[in-house]
């Protein structure tokens, strides 16, 4: 058994030693998030501010196609607010009597408006880069919220001798460090209505909170349900074990 242990330890150590070689040379910030631990919930005020940033900045290029306006109740907007917001957005609305595509105001049941009709149009308008849909972006990147935060705050002057391609921008967190997206947020890009300071850090934090919610809108309900279910199951395990002990009490084994 001792050989076994040392072998296991050796295999484990080998894994640890080899790990740095695999990691890419990117700076991954480590932020504190309201939603990260097993009991965490979304900071709704931050998510609402983040939604404001999405609406004013991100939505010019990025779609959020798997969300509907009604989903915004999840970050604490009420029915009237959602209706009012949707009414201000123009979305495709079927065809008119001549069979021509027509547009109309969105309703809470509408999908979020996409800025480009298709990916070719998106690429043409963005120097060949297609702005990814943001519905799942937090789940779709290694590092999740920290990675997105890192991209938003990672713009800097390239180091000496680093050649940045035409129409590309240097970013500390982006793999390869050359990104199509120009710096979207700076200090003071968006004016908050609730008096929160609008530093780059604060804005990045807020929009990442919003996008994390957008990617996992069920997370709070899920975790709260999970606490109750796991507690119940642990109790049931204890009970079942007691029953098993009782059943087996008359057997020598």
């Amino acid at each position: 058994m001792r050989t076994m242990h040392s072998l296991l330890a050796g295999a484990f150590a080998a894994t640890l030693l080899a790990a740095p070689a695999v990691a890419q040379e990117i700076e991954m910030p480590h932020q504190k998030w309201s939603f990260e631990n097993p009991f965490g919930t979304y900071d709704l005020a931050a998510a609402q501010r983040g939604f404001q940033i999405y609406a004013q900045v991100c939505s010019n290029c990025h779609s959020l196609q798997y969300l509907h306006y009604r989903d915004l109740s999840g970050i604490g907007l009420d029915a009237d607010q959602i209706k009012a917001f949707a009414a201000g957005v123009t979305v495709p609305d079927g065809t008119d009597d001549q069979g021509q595509p027509k547009e109309g105001p969105a309703t809470p049941a509408s999908q979020f408006r996409s800025p480009f009709p298709n990916s070719k149009a998106a690429a043409a308008a963005n120097n060949g880069g297609i702005p990814p849909d943001l519905s799942l972006i937090v789940n779709a990147r290694e590092g999740g919220p920290n990675y997105i935060y890192g991209i938003l705050t990672g713009y800097a002057d390239p180091p000496e001798g680093f050649k940045v391609g035409d129409g590309l921008y240097y970013n500390k967190t982006f793999p390869g460090h050359q990104i199509h997206m120009p710096q979207p947020l700076r200090d003071g890009t968006v004016d908050y209505t609730d008096g929160t300071g609008n530093s780059l850090d604060q804005q990045a934090h807020d929009v990442v909170t919003f996008l994390s919610w957008a990617a996992n809108p069920e997370a709070v309900e899920r975790k709260q349900m999970g606490v109750r279910i796991v507690l119940f199951l642990v109790f049931l395990t204890g009970l079942t074990y007691a029953v098993k002990r009782k059943v087996w009490a008359d057997v020598e084994h």
Partner: protein
Amino acid sequence: MVGLHKSEFANPVINWIDTRLPVFTMIQKEYGEFPTPKNFNYFWNFGALAMINLVIMIATGIFLAMNYQPNSELAFGSIQHIMRDVNYGWLLRYIHQNGASMFFIVTYIHIFRGLYYGSYKAPRELLWMLGVVILIIMMATAFMGYVLPWGQMSYWGATVITNLFSAFPVVGPKIVTLLWGGFSVDNPTLNRFYSLHYLLPFLLVGVIFLHVVALHLTGSNNPLGIDVKSPQDTLPFHPYYTAKDSVGICVFLVVLSVLVFFAPNYLGDPNNFIPANPLQTPADIVPEWYFLPYYAILRSVPDKLTGVCLMFGSILVLFVLPWLDTSKVRSARFRPLYRITLLLWVVAVVVLGVCGANKPQGIWVLLSRAGTLYYFAQFLVIMPILGKLERPLPLPESISHPVIGGRGGGPLPSGAAAKPMEKA
């Protein structure tokens, strides 16, 4: 035998049915009174756990299928529809997704149990081989299921794995075209994988039924690996093992729940949240964790055909295991050397898994070669030779002897073993 069954059930309705179709008698016999060795440890929970797991997968899968669209244009979006709009769709999907991982955890432990306690040896060879068939069907089902969300890893995983068949001479490319339903992974591939993903679990139910029938004919093995000698060695399945299995099922549900509710995507790959894009290959194509050891075996040799043969061989070799092991002693408890080699084999599998998750370069190539070598050496060299060389520890006379005689306990009166068993 022609004629009505003589039922012993008192309830007239049950009796009436049982006389004509003795299912109640069968259940009573196979799950009520079924004589089961009294010395099982908790490793013997895992067969029941796998069964429960399959039921969970089929139940959640049926409801997912009601809301899923097997079309390359719609599949990814329909999963998001399930996650966001279907009532408790996220719960169904996360149970199904993590249930697949749990199914492999449970099955791998079940297989380890078989290897450690020699459950594959006579007279249980066919029982074991049916188990290997179950494993293969499970793998095919899991692989096709992973393709259905039509994310980047679904698409590229499917491309890599189906392409493996092209390594076979002459028929290889034809097999690949047949699997794809065309000349690349595309909508027809998704359609046929969906169809098969729905079909195979029911095939699994059939083979599992045979697996259980075979088990109930030979009777269960046990941690001592010796045959049942008298009724004193056994207990009726109910209530003893229904109670013991229930404990395991509860613990299993706790683990599954922790995954589902607190870390539903922990075992997944971020790339699968990106819709499939045939024009963009992900930096790293890795299969789900439960396939990583086989993936490492595949990549351990530079030649594609050899790699493919080794990969399939790593499963197929299990079929002949009952004849590769030359030792008559079943349980590793009495085989000190075999025990060490088997635990080393487990280490090799874990190392292979880690290798499979890393790019095949540098130390990982070396480690995956060493792992592959040991994986096969264990079955093809060590087990045939060890059975002849090893001197096993003395076996106990019967299951109840060491149990009643005390295992590590104080001395008991020598007459204890002769005491008539108290009827439960």
